[in-house]
C-alpha cells in the first residue's frame, strides 16, 4: 500500500505543481482591459470588439501600450491610479500621443523598421497640423481621422482607410461635406471632380495603383495644397517628360512672370480630363484662344494651328491604318504584324502629345512625322492584304475553272473509250 502511495506522490505532485504554474502564469498574462471592456461594451464598433483586428494588436501590443496603466489589475479605479495611465487623449493630444512610439526610431525599429518616423514632424508643417496644434481647431484631421482607431490596418491592406484605393473616399469624408467645411473657404467638389478625371478613372475603376490618389499630389502627413509655383513640380513627379518640355517652352517664363498656374491652367486640378485634339488650335473651343488672339502680336495662334494640323495628320493616319487593318482582319487575313506595328503609331501619338508642351510647332511636326510614315506603311500593308484576299479568290476561280475543264474533258474521254 505504501508503495502505491509513493508512486502516486511521485507522479501526481509534479503534475499538479506544473498545472498550477501554468494556470497562474496564464492568468497573469491575461489582458484585464479587454476582459472587462468586452464585458460591458456590446457595440460591434466598440474598442474591445475592434482591437483584435488592429495592426497593433497583431504586432503583440495591448491597450496599456498606448493608454498606459497596469493591465494586471482587476479594478478599473486601481488601473486609473496605476503608474503611467494616460486614458483617452483628446483630438489635440492625439498626434503627440501616437508620436510617442511612431517618432521614436529606437522603438519602431523593433516592430516595423521600414516605417518612417517623421510623421509627426511633417504633420506639424501641414495645414491640418497648423490648424490643430497652432489654432486649436479640433475639426481638422488628426491621426485617427484618416487611419481610424482600434481597427487600424496596414496601408497595404485593402481594408485600410489609407490604402491607395480608399484614400479619395477617406479624404472626402470631410472635404466633400459642405456643412463641415463651411468657414474654411475651400471648395468641396474635389472628390466629384476627381472621380471624373483620368486619375480617378484609372485608380478607382481600373484599380491602377500607379494612378495618383489625393496624397500623391498633396502629401499625406505633411498635407499642403500645392502652390502656383509648385504645381508643375507636383505633376512633373510622374509626367517628367512633359514637365521637361514645358520648362523649355516660352510659356514657362510667361506663366512665371504673370503668376499663372502651369499645368492646371489648361488641365484643371482635380478634374483632369482626357486631352482632346481640339484643345490645341485656333477654333473657339480650343484652349489657346482663351489667352491668345490673332492680333496679340505673337506667333502663338499660328503655332497652335500648325501643332493642331500635325497632330490631326497623325490621328488621321492612325485611324485610316486601323480601319484598313480591321477590314483585312474581317476578311480572314492574318494582320498580327500590322496590329503590332500600330502600337508603334500609338507610341508616336503619345510622344507627339508630350512634345506639344514645348509649344514648338516644328518640333511637334518632326515628332509626328515618323508616326505618320509608320501608319502609312501599316495602311499599305493592309491594302496589300485585301488585294491578296481578292487575288486568292480570283486565283481560286481560275484554278477551279481549269481543273473542272480538265475533269470534263476526261469524263468525255472515258465515255468515248467505253463506247
Amino acid at each position: 500500500m505504501k508503495l502505491f502511495y509513493d508512486k502516486i506522490k511521485r507522479f501526481f505532485v509534479p503534475f499538479a505543481a506544473t498545472l498550477m504554474i501554468c494556470f497562474v502564469y496564464g492568468y497573469a498574462q491575461a489582458d484585464n482591459c479587454l476582459e472587462c471592456h468586452s464585458g460591458w461594451e456590446d457595440d460591434e464598433r466598440a474598442p474591445s470588439a475592434l482591437f483584435p483586428t488592429d495592426v497593433h494588436s497583431q504586432a503583440g501590443l495591448g491597450c496599456s501600450d498606448c493608454h498606459g496603466g497596469n493591465p494586471d489589475l482587476e479594478d478599473m479605479d486601481d488601473v486609473r491610479r496605476s503608474k503611467g495611465y494616460r486614458g483617452i487623449p483628446g483630438p489635440k493630444e492625439i498626434p503627440a500621443f501616437c508620436a510617442t512610439c511612431h517618432s521614436d526610431p529606437n522603438y519602431m525599429i523593433k516592430h516595423n523598421p521600414a516605417l518612417a518616423t517623421d510623421q509627426f514632424d511633417k504633420y506639424k508643417t501641414s495645414v491640418h497640423g497648423q490648424q490643430l496644434l497652432g489654432k486649436g481647431d479640433i475639426k481638422v484631421a488628426n491621426c485617427v481621422s484618416c487611419h481610424s482607431v482600434h481597427d487600424i490596418a496596414s496601408p497595404q491592406m485593402p481594408t485600410s482607410t489609407v490604402n491607395a484605393l480608399n484614400i479619395p473616399k477617406t479624404c472626402s469624408k470631410c472635404h466633400s461635406d459642405a456643412a463641415y467645411m463651411a468657414g474654411y473657404g475651400i471648395p468641396t467638389d474635389q472628390f466629384d471632380d476627381y472621380v471624373k478625371s483620368v486619375h480617378g478613372h484609372a485608380l478607382l475603376d481600373k484599380k491602377d495603383l500607379g494612378a495618383p490618389a489625393c496624397n500623391d499630389c498633396h502629401g499625406n502627413h505633411g498635407a499642403t495644397p500645392p502652390g502656383i509655383t509648385s504645381i508643375s513640380a507636383v505633376c512633373g513627379m510622374c509626367h517628367t517628360l512633359i514637365s521637361d518640355e514645358f520648362a523649355k517652352s516660352p510659356h514657362k517664363k510667361a506663366f512665371d512672370e504673370m503668376g499663372y498656374p502651369e499645368c492646371e491652367g489648361c488641365h484643371s486640378n482635380h478634374l483632369v480630363l482626357e486631352p482632346q485634339l481640339y484643345w490645341v488650335g485656333i477654333t473657339d473651343s480650343s484652349l489657346c484662344v482663351n489667352c491668345h488672339s490673332a492680333d496679340d502680336g505673337t506667333i502663338a495662334l499660328a503655332t497652335a494651328d500648325k501643332m493642331h494640323n500635325s497632330l490631326q495628320a497623325l490621328y488621321n493616319a492612325y485611324d485610316s491604318a486601323e480601319t484598313k487593318t480591321d477590314d483585312a482582319d474581317t476578311r480572314g487575313m492574318m494582320v498580327t504584324d500590322q496590329r503590332f506595328t500600330l502600337k508603334e503609331v500609338s507610341q508616336a501619338i503619345i510622344k507627339t502629345r508630350t512634345v506639344i508642351h514645348s509649344f514648338n510647332a516644328d518640333e511637334v511636326e518632326k515628332t509626328a512625322a515618323p508616326g505618320i510614315q509608320t501608319a502609312d506603311k501599316v495602311y499599305q500593308a493592309a491594302v496589300a492584304k485585301i488585294d491578296e484576299y481578292y487575288f486568292r479568290r480570283y486565283g481560286l476561280g481560275i484554278a477551279t475553272l481549269i481543273i473542272t475543264l480538265l475533269a470534263v474533258m476526261l469524263y468525255f474521254k472515258i465515255r468515248s473509250i467505253e463506247k
Binding site: 480572314g332 492574318m334 498580327t336 504584324d337 486568292r392 479568290r393 486565283g395 481560286l396 484554278a399 477551279t400 481543273i403 473542272t404 480538265l406 475533269a407 476526261l410 469524263y411 474521254k413 472515258i414 473509250i417 467505253e418
Partner: protein
C-alpha cells in the same frame, strides 16, 4: 492544220518509242491493260484507296514545301509557322492544304477501311493487304498526332500534354514511353524535336515501305470481287480494264478532289467547326490551360471513352482499363481476316459483321458525345 497534227503525233510516237526502247514500258502497259477491275453496284468503294493515296501525295509535296521554312524548337517553331502563313508567298495556302489534306486523308482511309470490312474484301487471300492497310491508318493517325504539336501554339501544347500523359497510364512501360515521346518529364522544346523527327523522317520512312507493300499486294491480287460472285452462278460478271479505264476514272476523281481541296483551303484556311487549326497564341507552359482541350476529331472517340470510364473499374485504374479495352478491340480489328477465315468461301461471319457495326456505332456516338459534352 492537218499537217501540224500529223507532225505532233509523229513526235509523240517517236518519243514513246525512245522511252520504250530504254524502259520497256510497253510491257508494263500491256500488263496493266490485261488487269481487270470488277464492275458492280459497289464499285464506288474501290476509289477510296486511290483517294487516300492522292491525299498522301499532297501531304508529301506540301510537307516538303513547309519544311523549307519550318524551324523546330521552342523558340522558333511558332515564329516560323507564323512567318510561313504571313510572309512566305502562298505559304498560307500550303499550310492550309497540308492541314485539310491531312484530315481528308484520314477520313478517306477510314471510309476505305470500313468499305473493305463490310464488303468482306479482307478475306483470304488478302489478309496481308488488310493488315498493312490497318497499320497504314494507325501510322496516318500518328502523323496527325505528331504534326499537331509542331506549330507550338497554345492548343497544340496542352493537347499534346494530355495525349502523351495518357501513354503514362500504361503499366510497367507507361512512364518510359511518355518520357521517350516527350524527351523528358514534360512537354518542352525537346518534345518538338522528337515529334518533328518522327513526323518528317521516321513515320514517312515506315509509311512509304508499307504503302509500297500495300500497293504491291493489290497489284498482285487484283481488286476483290463481291462475295456473291463466288456462289451465285446466275450473276453476269462485268469487268473494266484497269488501264486506261479505271486509271482515267481514278484521275477524274483526283481532279475533283483537287478542286475540293483548293476551295476548302482558300475559303477556310484555318479549318471550319470542329476541324480547325488557327495558329492562335504561342504555347506558354506556365499559362493556365485553355477551357477546352480536345484532340483531333479522329482521336475524339478514344479520348471521350477514356473520359467516360469511372476512376476505377474493379481493381484497375479507369484510364488503364479503357486503354486495355481499346487495345484489345484494335487487335481484334487487325486480325479480323483470321477470325473470318473459318467460314467457307462465299459465306460471311455474322458475328464479325455485328462487331463491325458495333465499332462504327461506338466511334460515331463517342465522337458526337465528345463534341456535345465538352
Amino acid at each position: 492544220m492537218e499537217n501540224q497534227n500529223t507532225n505532233s503525233s509523229t513526235f509523240m510516237t517517236r518519243l514513246y518509242s525512245w522511252v520504250d526502247e530504254r524502259l520497256k514500258i510497253n510491257t508494263l502497259v500491256e500488263y496493266m491493260s490485261k488487269k481487270a477491275v470488277p464492275r458492280h453496284s459497289h464499285s464506288i468503294w474501290y476509289f477510296f484507296g486511290g483517294m487516300t493515296l492522292f491525299f498522301f501525295i499532297v501531304q508529301v509535296l506540301t510537307g516538303i514545301l513547309l519544311l523549307l521554312y519550318y524551324r523546330p524548337g521552342a523558340d522558333s517553331a511558332y515564329e516560323s509557322v507564323k512567318f510561313i502563313v504571313s510572309e512566305v508567298t502562298f505559304g498560307w495556302l500550303i499550310r492550309s492544304i497540308h492541314s485539310w489534306s491531312a484530315n481528308l486523308m484520314i477520313l478517306a482511309a477510314f471510309i476505305h477501311m470500313f468499305s473493305v470490312f463490310f464488303t468482306h474484301a479482307y478475306r483470304r487471300p488478302r489478309e496481308m493487304t488488310w493488315i498493312s492497310g490497318v497499320l497504314l491508318l494507325g501510322l496516318a493517325m500518328a502523323f496527325g498526332f505528331s504534326g499537331y504539336l509542331l506549330p507550338w501554339n497554345e492548343l497544340s501544347f496542352f493537347a499534346t500534354r494530355v495525349g502523351t500523359g495518357m501513354a503514362g497510364a500504361l503499366p510497367f512501360v507507361g512512364d518510359f514511353l511518355m518520357e521517350v515521346m516527350r524527351g523528358g518529364e514534360n512537354v518542352t522544346g525537346a518534345t518538338i524535336g522528337r515529334f518533328f523527327g518522327f513526323h518528317v523522317a521516321v513515320l514517312p520512312g515506315i509509311f512509304t515501305v508499307l504503302i509500297a507493300l500495300h500497293l504491291f499486294f493489290i497489284q498482285r491480287q487484283g481488286m476483290s470481287e463481291p462475295l456473291e460472285w463466288a456462289t451465285d452462278t446466275k450473276i453476269t460478271k462485268k469487268y473494266m480494264p484497269f488501264f486506261p479505264n479505271f486509271i482515267l476514272r481514278e484521275t477524274l476523281v483526283w481532279l475533283v478532289l483537287l478542286n475540293i481541296l483548293a476551295v476548302l483551303a482558300v475559303f477556310f484556311p484555318d479549318g471550319i467547326g470542329a476541324v480547325h487549326w488557327p495558329l492562335g497564341e504561342k504555347a506558354d507552359p506556365f499559362a493556365p490551360p485553355p477551357p477546352v482541350i480536345r484532340p483531333e476529331w479522329y482521336f475524339m472517340f478514344a479520348f471521350q471513352s477514356l473520359k467516360l470510364i469511372p476512376a476505377h473499374v474493379l481493381f484497375i485504374e479507369g484510364e488503364l482499363f479503357g486503354i486495355i479495352i481499346l487495345s484489345i478491340a484494335g487487335l481484334a480489328w487487325l486480325v479480323a481476316p483470321f477470325l473470318a477465315s473459318r467460314k467457307p468461301e462465299g459465306q460471311v461471319s455474322h458475328k464479325l459483321v455485328v462487331f463491325g457495326w458495333a465499332v462504327v456505332i461506338f466511334i460515331v456516338v463517342m465522337t458526337i458525345l465528345g463534341y456535345i459534352l465538352e
